[in-house]
Amino acid sequence: MSQWSGESVKQREGDDVAEAPRGALVSAMVMVLPEDVGTKLREIAVTVLRSPFTKRSWSELLFLVVGAALAVLDAAFVVVTMAVGIAFAITFFGLAVIGLSLRGSRGIGRIQRNVARVLLEEDIEEPAPFAPRPGFLGWLQSALRDRAGWRAMAYVFLKIPLALLAVLTALSVWVDAFECLTYPLSRGAQPQSVGIVRIFGPPGYLSVGGPRFIQDVAIFMSGIVLFFVAPWVVRVVVYLDRLLLRALLGPDAVSVRVRSLEHARAQTVDASAATLRRIERDLHDGTQAQLVALAMRLGMAKEKLEDTEHLDLDRIRELVDDAHRGAKEAIFELRDIARGIHPPALDIGLEGALATVAARSTVPTDVTVSVAERPTPGIESIAYFCVAELLANVSQHARASRASVTCTQHGRRLRMVVRDDGVGGARPSVVGSSSSGLVGLADRVHAVDGRFDIASPPGGPTVVTVDLPLEI
């Protein structure tokens, strides 16, 4: 763009009359078009001119050729096996053949996925593996109910018209382009293609007569146009195939959902086991040891009191003092642990509980809660622990001077935003560090179909948004 502008300025400054129209045109373009639109047009032009020479265009073309060949084989397999299967459907033999046909379709699906991965760089997730029940009848039942198999078969059938479309349009345009470009050389031979151009007549239809030379040039020029258009026709057809591949050969929506629920369930089970283990550890290392030491001191004091002959009151007082202090520490620790299991403040509601947790934070924290409906206890608990953990992180890592917590209701969702003005750079992926707590939080939130987002650029501020359903 800047080159063009520079040129136009130069043209206007130099009084070259012959070049004036071109200079004026370019500067008019520059003035009419905002700079970004001009850049865009240039980019489009470059893309169009380059496309016949890109790897992608040739890979897609190859995909269509391979796909058309495979489509014929696949369709033959499915049609023959299904025909036999349906003909004998009232016998187990027929059903078994249908089952085999479905299993075969699954195999075809795998081949198609691999072809798409290699040639289209289209990474389609594999459906859940076929898991037959034991025994022949179990296998038959599982095979006939295999959604992935039926969907792969649907792909095979839908691929037939698509392959036909590919041959008639995309492949034909390429053939036409090739024929037009070589027409001047092979003029004598009879055109063989079945493409669009052929449908409307031989390449010669483009010329309205006149000398041979003009005709040759016209056909050659149309060949050039077709050469640049062909990759885009291919792209459109391939795009339709991509849609079909994604819709029918990947895992279906139900199984994706099942898989994500299974994942969430596993995480929930693991998380609750980890929580129980942590609580046990806290009780074991803290309170229990504290109480054992306390009992031991009282035991020693008791024995010293029984020894009435050498009553060492100072030593006894010391032991009782230690025991007393130990008892108070044990009570304090026990309260902390109990709060970690279920915060008593939650019984009065989220607002009170969040105010309590904010008040305990070392960073001054504003809390705003406007929730019309009470979420279910499970959701309230997750919301509370998210805020507690996030504020603990703020205290420990953010070096913030202020933090805020807002909790609002949006329809049937609860949204909480925890914000601080600290140094930022919080990442949930750092396993083993203190922020692995963030991963645990995110897991808990995802387990109930919630969302957990962190925006924490280096230098801050950090904004964590937690979005939860009001009920599970």
Binding site: A289, A295, M296
Partner: protein, 218 residues
């Protein structure tokens, strides 16, 4: 106690470790070292050659059974070193592992037992002088899980009490004290138990413990 027993303590909870040190010094023991993990325990045993090691089963770094592993290793490398395992819970499997070869100089107690200072000190002395001290909880679990329930059922209530105390590693004198009966009566009960359970009479206390435990565990 002529020469005071020399004791090393391996316990990761600082509160408990300090308390134990205080208690043992108060009772006239010599504490050679008080450490927080198995590695330090090995080093201090090597250096000080104590008579007894009080070992917490669960210690850093994994907080599972480091203490037990260390105890088994020490038993092999330092013959005659008494080991008193000290735990928040009783795992019968651990007891079985520890007593696999010999019950001499082995103890396994719940940490709570330090509250009864004299009993704890007795147990420690017993272990230090080659005896056995098993927590009543261990014995209860072993008796509960025993496949010899039918034989045990043939014992009288008093005999069951004596059996439990024997399994804990107590001498006839200590059993007599605990049950407030004469030592002669205890001897009669013991003989009757051994007859009813078809066990051979044993001379020393710890052999007797082993015989009883084998019986319960088999």
């Amino acid at each position: 106690m002529d020469a005071p027993l020399r004791v090393v303590i391996a316990e990761d909870s600082a509160i408990l470790r300090d308390g134990l040190v205080q208690l043992l010094i108060d009772r006239g023991f010599v504490v050679t070292a008080a450490v927080g993990d198995a590695e330090e325990l090995h080093k201090s045993v090597e250096r000080d050659d104590p008579d007894v090691a009080i070992v917490d089963i669960r210690m850093p770094p994994t907080f599972t059974n480091e203490g037990l592993r260390a105890a088994i290793e020490l038993r092999q490398s330092h013959e005659g070193l008494g080991i008193l395992l000290f735990s928040q819970y009783i795992e019968t499997r651990y007891a079985a592992e520890l007593l696999a070869h010999d019950a001499a100089g082995i103890g396994y107690l719940l940490k709570d037992r330090v509250a009864d200072v004299s009993d704890f000190v007795d147990a420690l002395v017993r272990v230090g002088s080659g005896g056995t001290a098993l927590d009543p909880e261990v014995v209860t679990q072993l008796m509960g899980a025993s496949r010899r329930a039918a034989s045990i059922a043939a014992l009288s209530t008093r005999e069951k009490e004596v059996l439990a105390l024997m399994a804990e590693g107590r001498s006839n004198g200590a059993i007599a004290d605990a049950l407030v009966i004469s030592e002669g009566t205890v001897e009669k009960h013991v003989a009757s138990i051994f007859t009813k359970l078809h066990l051979p009479e044993s001379q020393s206390d710890h052999r007797r413990v082993l015989a009883v435990l084998r019986f319960l565990d088999s």
